[in-house]
Symmetry: C2
Subunit: 523 residues, 2 copies
């Protein structure tokens, strides 16, 4: 397994400062990727409790029913909402975003490790987006077989040829992890990094108060005080606001580029509200609006529906099916060529692909981006899962053989965003048997399957039965950065996201109705 990037031993101890519960605390890396927190009040964390509530609460059907009723009203009052599937573009009736009744345990060390590494991931993504040669080489096999990636790459190349018209770069991303708990220990393993339209920073900002309330009503007053503050909406908006300010026009708007079906509009609204609180105007537009009314003036300023656009915040455009016509592609190109700050720009979009993730896991690649910072390399690498190429050649052949021999140990990932696209177990064999001898296999990467430990909880979804469920969680950390020319003017970890699903489901996100929103309870 040549690409297993988790080194057996950590580099010398490093120190990181992260914003934790609104207090800057110092993390000391003790090696092996395990971090110890200093300066934190003793009382904040209980060690060794696997569940948020005792077993007798967990199995008390009457109490659970009452708590679920309270929880649903609470989550609604906090604005953790979704439009209903029947009318995704209407707010006449709405429902709650699915969520867990109780917060889920997350080991403190790995939680803090994820927060601490986020600013380095920001830097890494930003460096990749500026490395033309790296992107070209890394994505060569993918664009040979994936039309969507190829089309994006053509826009990227055209922009490079024409020269970028905007030196302000705004990156809002989310790095997603699972915990590998095979051997009793908990190791943080990155699943992917989303550099495009990373969602649920809005809704998750209101969830801490929901779980605090539920635990209090459940008689777990002390536990309720252990729920961490979390406000990604404010942090993401801070990044957008910074970019807007640097753009330098009071009348220019932040344009949310949104889907046609907008069930998850409330997640956006939290960020819009944060911007309006700073008196920064926002508008919501679709690709068609840009195509029909958008133009660049002589200085390449972007105008849409009469508004000068300072920032294009893409919440749509990461899936091939969005680009239904040449008009959509034209609209994307218009925005990329413009002087508006794009979040993300086309290069940063490409930097978030799974193929790039896999290439980064090769020995020596991270070192290229951080030549004088071995401790950063080590910190990032400590979060990598085993990642394997399926490119043509002996290395890819070896990957195919390895996957077919033990499909249950791997995940096969196509170059797609949005969740629900991965293959597991026998599906891997089915897919690989079909493509293993052609270049088609290059549209995938293979990843070690992670084995987290299930924890019991209740998943609250509209009209779903209330039943105790074995659950697995995925932890995300939100990064926000702004660069102007060569100066990084902001680089922060702005919050986290915990999503939880039944252990029966191998794949799928919140929007797909599989995972639900959650809060970490540090143990």
């Amino acid at each position: 397994m040549p690409h297993d990037t988790v080194s057996g031993k950590a580099a010398s101890a490093t120190r990181e400062v992260v914003n934790f519960r609104n207090t800057h605390v110092v993390l000391v890396d003790l090696g092996m990727g395990h971090l110890t927190l200093t300066g934190e009040p003793e009382a904040a964390v209980k060690v060794g409790m696997a569940q948020a509530v005792p077993d007798d609460v967990m199995i008390n059907a009457d109490l659970i029913k009452d708590l679920a009723d309270v929880a649903k009203d609470q989550v609604l009052l906090q604005g953790v909402l979704m439009r209903v599937q029947e009318s995704p573009n209407s707010s006449e009736v709405v429902t709650y975003a699915p969520f867990t009744l109780f917060p889920s345990p997350v080991p403190k060390a790995v939680f803090l490790q994820a927060l601490a590494v986020q600013t380095h991931y920001n830097t890494l993504v930003d460096k990749i987006s500026q490395d033309q040669d790296f992107l070209k080489e890394a994505l060569a096999s993918t664009i040979a077989v994936d039309d969507f990636a190829a089309r994006l790459f053509r826009i990227h190349e055209q922009i490079l040829k024409e020269g970028r018209s905007q030196s302000i770069v705004l990156g809002l991303n989310r790095s997603d992890y699972m915990l590998d708990q095979k051997d009793g220990a908990s190791s943080l393993r990155q699943m992917e990094i989303n550099t495009f339209a990373a969602s649920f920073g809005g809704l998750s900002s209101r969830l801490p108060d929901v779980h605090r309330h539920i635990l209090k009503v459940a008689g777990q007053l002390k536990q309720s005080q252990n729920i961490l503050d979390n406000n990604p909406a404010a942090g993401l908006a801070k990044g957008i606001a910074k970019a807007w300010e640097l753009y330098g026009s009071d009348k220019a708007v932040v344009m949310f580029l949104v889907e046609e079906k907008q069930r998850n509009i409330f997640d956006h609204r939290f960020i819009e509200n944060e911007l309006w609180m700073r008196n920064i105007p926002t508008v919501r537009k679709q690709f068609d609006d840009v195509y029909n009314t958008g133009f660049l003036d002589q200085d390449k300023r972007l105008f849409v529906d009469g508004h000068e656009v300072a920032v294009v915040y893409f919440r749509n455009g990461y899936m091939p099916q969005t680009y239904t016509s040449e008009q959509t592609w034209d609209a994307r190109l218009l925005m990329e060529r413009s002087r508006a700050v794009k979040c993300p720009d086309i290069s940063t979009h490409l930097a978030g692909t799974k193929k790039v993730q896999q290439v980064l896991a090769r020995p020596g690649v991270l070192e290229k981006f951080f030549p004088d910072q071995p401790e950063v390399v080590e910190q990032i690498r400590a979060t990598f899962a085993g990642l394997y190429t399926l490119d043509m050649g002996p290395e890819g052949d070896q990957t195919v053989a390895m996957a077919l021999a033990a499909p249950d140990q791997f995940v096969l990932k196509p170059e797609r965003e949005g969740g629900g696209n991965n293959f597991y177990g026998s599906e891997i064999c089915q897919v690989l048997e079909g493509v293993k001898d052609s270049t088609e296999r290059m549209a995938y990467i293979l990843m070690d399957k992670i084995e987290p430990k299930p924890v019991k909880n209740y998943l609250l979804k509209r009209d779903a039965p209330l039943q105790i469920t074995n659950c697995l969680s995925e932890l995300g950390t939100f990064g926000a950065y702004v660069r102007q020319g060569k100066n990084m003017v902001m680089n922060e970890c702005v919050g986290h996201l915990l999503r939880t699903k039944s252990s029966e489901h191998s794949d799928g996100g919140v929007a797909a109705g599989v995972a639900v929103l959650d809060n970490p309870l540090l143990i």
Copy 2:
């Protein structure tokens, strides 16, 4: 018109301190019920603007459509919710509580007058509730013809006979006003005082931020800063919390006595949340729960479903149709006899009847309650509308003749709570012709009809068309007081409520789907 209680001239200037935008400011009564505010920043109020937004915004259909979309999402995010009519006991899907797109103008003087008089109304209600003889005399004609009032009165008398087992009194009420603007001036006229289950203190607490946001998005940044803070939920909860503390048992709960159909549960939830924030446990129970599981221990402590109840907060029980069986009446009696603090207790319930309101308007009656405080008498009386008895006898005969001669100048009010029960215009003649020669007429009172000036606005209701509407508003002020024995330990005005409806509707509240929630914009 012997009972026209609005005196032509005010008493000597009085000074009141009210909590206004979280600042205590001094109001100087300059007579005629018009108050001038001192100590307030100049910029906070604009005089002479009848609408919140200019006409060009008001008639811009595209902009209004956009604003309505933003407004609906905003009100949902703020938790200003209602369950849907189709499933009033489920929170699986919900809708927004109906509200105005823009805040409605309210003259500053009358707004402050209403706030300033509230603590006197609290005192008045409390004094009436303790005046056995007054209640008996005032309600004699009503209980002769109104079975519901009679039944309540029997409980009242039984409690008096047995002796009250609790000396802590908690009063949460809302005094509702309209503005009489017949002659260009604006005079505050009390419609009624609700001493039982006064609602919308919860939902209205989140509406200021909604209108601030809408005005900002509409380009009216300055106006948006003129929206007053308002948090009745916190103030009502403060009263309940005070009563709970005085009761003196950490484990005892606040019991919300609720309806079977609970569409307006979110209004309650805000108050529940304020209590939980103080670590005061709350439960929601119905009359049936009290009947089936409730009992008094030897010290008359009330237990329901195993919980000791410190405070019964009635949000149900003001309408005859609630009392479907003798069991319901038994449950009410059980609670009244208990040592739990009742909000309201039976006497305070009766003090809020319309008949009492009419009797208070007779010359000399207010003086009886405030023998040494002519300025208080004057301040209360300045808010009275003309109120007329329909008791048997020459005075009542005169009222009948007056109403039949000019029905458009009056409102005929039966002894009922909840809105939507009043009669106007030709309806008055119909009803009076039927009852004028019998004692049945004693179940009503007659009131001067108030003529407020319509203002244009948009009423946002689920699935309703978006159309500009001539609107009238009703202003409510929330009062909270706690008395222990002879000591008034809390007496406050804790917020306000503005409700607005189409001028085409003569009657009906928010719950009835006619009026919608609003905010005052002081002019």
